[in-house]
């Protein structure tokens, strides 16, 4: 998750203000979650936030799905003093793309995460200790399975829309295809129906950085020093893949951090280096290294074509309307991958709109480029809402 770039914050509307995260237990011994790997898993807590109001027909609910390092806190602030808004704040609020005066917005932390929902850092009731690597290997479909229980608990039959970028887009696809009767429309941003080899490769390097940090200790580091060096390196690699040549050139160029001229020693630091260092250091304070392993693996496994016998078959299961957006400078989830899924959607006769937005910000564009995204999403949602009430 990048820092919010205020230059790009051209979104209209206002903030949702102070919001309160909620917790709910959605699986227990009697009602465990059956995972893709065959295991029954319980107990599971889910951290979520909601913005806006559910209408009395319960027809205006929109589920926001976060990306790899995101969390339930998509919009607003946690206290009046809080400086940092939720990760998609420019998009969610009164008058914004996800207009909270019209829609009821739900956002939850994914299964396996480390921001309130049960994950490898949670305490196992059997051992009384954090799960670590005894936490089951999960998939995108497992995350969605758990979210379905949340939607049930909130008394919602059918979502007006699901929306997410990157790993959030994978969840949106899985929702539309796996639960066709519960999703009217889906917005898939900077995402793919199957992670490509390049994406898997970067995830693998990140995982290697963590597991070769001696403090990782086979995942059993809780209560001890954490593998912060490995996790920071993993984050640095991740950040490189979220940017683009152009955005790095614009943001940092070849400038040095402290000096005006080269000192020809290793204390010379280019701005881009100190940026990555800063991102890495900040990340280890809020993210669990084991969650990094589990969530990145879940992305690696994601392949709708494999799960549903071909992409066209997958999309033939649903009647949802789709909006698919890619970004010209996103080389981690390149446009051809979005097109591939859109072609399959069209072959399945789905109502789909595809656009590649020109943007220099790489994969992160979907978090930064609020202006045109706002136009697209608000129009798309309005139409979907109007059709739902016809």
């Amino acid at each position: 998750m990048p820092e919010k770039n205020t230059e790009q914050d051209t979104a209209r509307g206002s903030s949702v203000g102070v919001v309160q995260p909620q917790d709910i237990q959605l699986a227990d011994e009697d009602n465990p979650l059956i995972l893709d790997n065959g295991r029954s898993f319980a107990p599971i807590n889910v951290r979520y936030e909601t913005y806006g109001r559910l209408n009395k027909e319960r027809s205006n609910a929109v589920l926001i799905l976060h990306a790899f390092s995101g969390d339930a806190h998509a919009a607003g602030y946690h206290s009046p003093e809080d400086q940092k808004p939720g990760w998609w704040d420019p998009m969610i609020g009164p008058g914004r793309a996800f207009d909270t005066t019209k829609y009821f917005i739900i956002s939850s932390n994914v299964l396996g995460g480390c921001q309130g929902t049960t994950g490898p850092a949670s305490v196992s009731p059997e051992t009384g200790k954090p799960y670590g690597l005894s936490f089951p290997v999960i998939t995108i479909a497992d995350m969605v399975r758990l979210q379905e229980r949340l939607i049930d608990a909130l008394g919602i039959d059918r979502l007006l829309a699901v929306a997410g970028g990157s790993m959030g887009g994978m969840q949106a696809l899985e929702w539309a295809v796996g639960y066709p009767e519960r999703v009217r429309s889906a917005m898939v941003l900077s995402s793919t129906a199957r992670l490509n080899a390049q994406g898997i490769a970067f995830n693998a390097v990140g995982r290697n950085a963590i597991t070769t940090d001696c403090r990782w200790a086979g995942g059993d580091y809780y209560g001890e020093e954490t593998p912060s060096t490995g996790l920071a390196i993993a984050r640095m690699i991740g950040h490189i893949t979220y940017l683009s040549d152009e955005s790095m050139r614009m943001k940092f160029g070849r400038r040095l951090q402290q000096r005006a001229t080269y000192g020809y020693d290793f204390s010379d630091q280019f701005e881009v280096e100190s940026y990555l260092q800063h991102q890495g250091d900040k990340f280890v304070d809020r993210f669990d290294a084991n969650s990094y392993l589990y969530l990145s693996k879940a992305m690696d496994y994601f392949d709708m074509s494999e799960s549903y016998g071909g992409l066209t078959n997958a999309f033939s299961r649903t009647g949802a309307k789709f909006l698919v957006i890619s970004y010209s400078s996103d080389w981690l989830y390149p446009t051809y991958q979005s097109k591939e899924m859109v072609y399959a959607m069209m072959k399945s006769g789905l109502d789909v709109t595809f656009i590649e937005l020109a943007s220099p910000y790489g994969h992160d564009s979907f978090l930064l480029d609020a202006g045109r995204q706002t136009e697209l999403i608000s129009s798309f949602l309005e139409k979907a809402y109007a059709e739902s009430t016809e």
């Binding site: 309307k321 909006l323 097109k339 859109v342 072609y343 069209m346 072959k347 109502d351 789909v352 709109t353 595809f354 656009i355 590649e356 937005l357 020109a358 045109r372 136009e375 697209l376 129009s379 798309f380 139409k383 109007a386």
Partner: protein, 209 residues
Amino acid sequence: MPNQPNSRPNTSAEDQQPGSDEIIIDLIGAGSTVLDLGCGEGELLERLIRDKQIAGRGVDIEEAKILACVKRGISVFQGNLDEGLKDYATNSYDYVILNQTLQVTHNPVLVLREMMRVGKKGIVSFPNFGFLYNRLQLLFAGRMPVNRKFPFTWYNTPNIHFFTRKDFLNTCIELGFQIEQEIPTRNGKTVARLFAGSMANEVCYVLTD
């Protein structure tokens, strides 16, 4: 304003009516499936959906036009027609439309072939470069025609392939397309076929394989 190649030219206000849209709307059967290549801002599709209850989708290359389509609630794919329609299944639409689009494509023959493969029928409408006024302008003024149908100067025109009604008829023969219907018009009013080559400033065809 210059257009990107492959996107329907922005039409000036006086060119809004009467236009090829009305003619095409009359040609299309109610409830059909329609693919509009170079759909622009989706006006034609919107009217077809409203008046003929079609299931329609558009293709255009320009970001701003895609945004406009989404605002209208039209499903649209941002793509380059010159790359063909390779991922569209054969005969998957009742009609594929090239409304004022053919002359802005780089590879019109590929686009025509793809149109006829993907559509059961093709509808093509284009400005007739052989219209008498164009001929006279070139003959007497010695300059490229600039008028209602060709409102651009040579350096900013999105129209990169100029052709006449007769050129198009020959191309249809070469490509083996059958002409099911021809509607020559001058400023929206039907012109007798006998004089179409010089008296029509726009022609619309319904083609079959």
